[in-house]
């Protein structure tokens, strides 16, 4: 870690960051990851709630499927995405007929990032929902709240700390995505070249730029980890002490 920051003076590091390659990579990474995170949170939150409040055999299957990208090598993810969404893939060929072009576009990057980062959010979200003291939703129900209202007014606020931590973890994984992206989306500056891909390209071209981008990723990752810690503390404060536990 220290080697990344010590090899080049900080002034040169900032100068290297001001190059087009680095700036474009920062923009591409931000744009694609913000879209991915929106998708992950919008679809992942209800899915996690569903998983956390069921105890069927189907649940184990769903959990396994959701967690699979967590343990899959990125190269396998890349191959899988190509087989599914490639131009001659299972879904890709249909989408091309419909007019949605995925190959070498930001959509491909978003798909890759969503695939690899989503388990980090969903997993944390499931345990956050499971960690809610069951008497609280039950109490809400006895007071006449419907399932939607219980989710929105009771479960969501109580799990917010865990959800935030999960989102930060998923974002950290997403901005570092490399393997699946380079296989599935290719690498073009300003279009599909994310920070990790830019490091890989600049490694042979200009080592200082590669170093500068790496330094940014180290700083951002450290910041995100700190956020996760803060969220976790907030979660433990918000769920305990349990208001009705004594009675």
């Amino acid at each position: 870690m220290a080697a990344i920051f010590l090899r080049v003076p900080p002034g040169d590091l900032f100068a290297a960051l001001a190059t087009d390659a680095a700036l474009d990579a920062i923009l591409v990474t931000l744009e694609t990851n913000v879209i991915s995170m929106a998708l992950i949170v919008v679809f992942g939150t209800p899915a996690a709630y569903w998983v956390a409040t069921r105890s069927s055999r189907l649940r184990d299957l769903v959990v396994t499927l959701v967690e699979l990208p967590l343990v899959l090598p990125p190269a396998v993810a890349g191959i899988g995405l190509l087989a599914a969404f490639g131009r001659f893939g299972l879904l890709g060929s249909t989408m091309e007929i419909v007019g949605i072009d995925i190959a070498f576009t930001k959509i491909a990057v978003v798909l890759a990032v969503t695939f690899v980062a989503s388990p980090f959010y969903v997993r944390t979200a499931v345990s956050a929902f499971e960690g809610i003291e069951p008497t609280l939703p039950d109490a809400a129900r006895t007071l006449g709240a419907g399932p939607a209202k219980v989710f929105a007014r009771v479960a969501l606020p109580l799990a917010a700390g865990g959800l935030g931590a999960g989102a930060a973890l998923a974002f950290a994984r997403g901005i570092g995505e490399f393997g699946a992206t380079i296989m599935f989306a290719g690498s073009l500056q300003g279009v599909t070249q994310t920070l990790s891909l830019a490091i890989y390209e600049q490694f042979d071209l200009d080592f200082d730029v590669a170093l500068a981008i790496s330094a940014v990723l180290v700083a951002v990752s450290a910041g995100l980890l700190l956020i996760v810690k803060l969220f976790s503390r907030w979660r433990s404060n918000s769920t305990s002490p349990i208001p009705f536990a004594a009675s």
Partner: protein, 248 residues
């Protein structure tokens, strides 16, 4: 404990035997860093060595960072000469030559029939990055043909020639520039569109012994074999061109 003694004796004898087996003077395989376009031909020529195939510029960087290579075979003289000037390899020699081709997937989604179709048709063009030898040669070809405007149709700049070949063979891209020798192993998946001889760049492959190598004699011997009839025939049958005659 006594009952176990024969077992221990047997184990000790076995270990001693294994020791002598590995201690026998054996030819340590050479570590050869070679341009990605040499993947098939080098493996076919001599499967007994350790290879690291990649973009010549990436291999140059790795050797600069102290990678434990014995031999460096580059698709462009620039990379070997850079290392030679830095004293990291011994004097490089030219060992073969190559040509570029345009490849399209067999299904040819963009309907490319000639290289000039790149200008007139919408096409997802895949090329290698500018620092990669084949990427540099690609830009030379386009300049000679007056087609530099098609660079705006590039959808991905890949890190080596095999990555370009793969993206086209898979049908992800519509067209890509590779060496003619890269098209051969995937000839059932791609169609080759020739580039006129006058627009061809001078593609010269150089090879050199890495200065830090602990087996320089073995490395030199391997290079001599590559320059001799057996090596040259293997290159020729893979589609590489014979050594270019030195220009006066």
């Amino acid at each position: 404990m006594r009952r176990l003694a024969p077992f221990f004796t047997a184990a000790a004898v076995a270990a001693a035997l294994a020791g002598t087996a590995t201690a026998r003077p054996q030819q340590e395989p050479l570590t050869i860093y070679a341009a990605a376009s040499l993947t098939e031909v080098f493996r076919a020529l001599d499967s007994g060595q350790r290879y690291n195939f990649g973009a010549s510029n990436a291999l140059e960087t790795q050797i600069r960072q102290g990678a434990p290579a014995d031999i460096f075979a580059s698709a462009a003289p620039l990379n070997t000469q850079n290392l030679f000037k830095a004293g990291l390899v011994e004097k490089p020699v030219t060992f073969t030559s190559n040509r570029l081709a345009l490849i399209v997937p067999k299904s040819n989604p963009a309907g490319i029939r000639s290289i000039y179709d790149l200008r007139s048709k919408p096409v997802k063009l895949v090329i290698a990055g500018p620092a990669v030898p084949v990427g540099n040669y690609t830009r030379t070809v386009l300049r000679k043909l007056g087609l530099t405007s098609v660079l705006s149709k590039v959808v991905s700049q890949e890190s080596d020639v095999k990555a370009v070949t793969g993206k086209i063979a898979l049908g992800q891209g519509d067209a890509g520039f590779v060496y003619v020798t890269d098209a051969r192993p995937v000839s059932d998946q791609v169609t080759v569109i020739r580039i006129p001889a006058w627009a061809q760049p001078r593609v010269r492959y150089e090879i050199a012994v890495v200065s830090r190598s602990s087996n320089k004699a073995g490395a030199q011997q391997w290079i001599r074999a590559l320059l001799a009839a057996k090596g040259q025939n293997a290159l020729k049958s893979a589609g590489f061109l014979p050594l270019p005659k030195p220009k006066p």
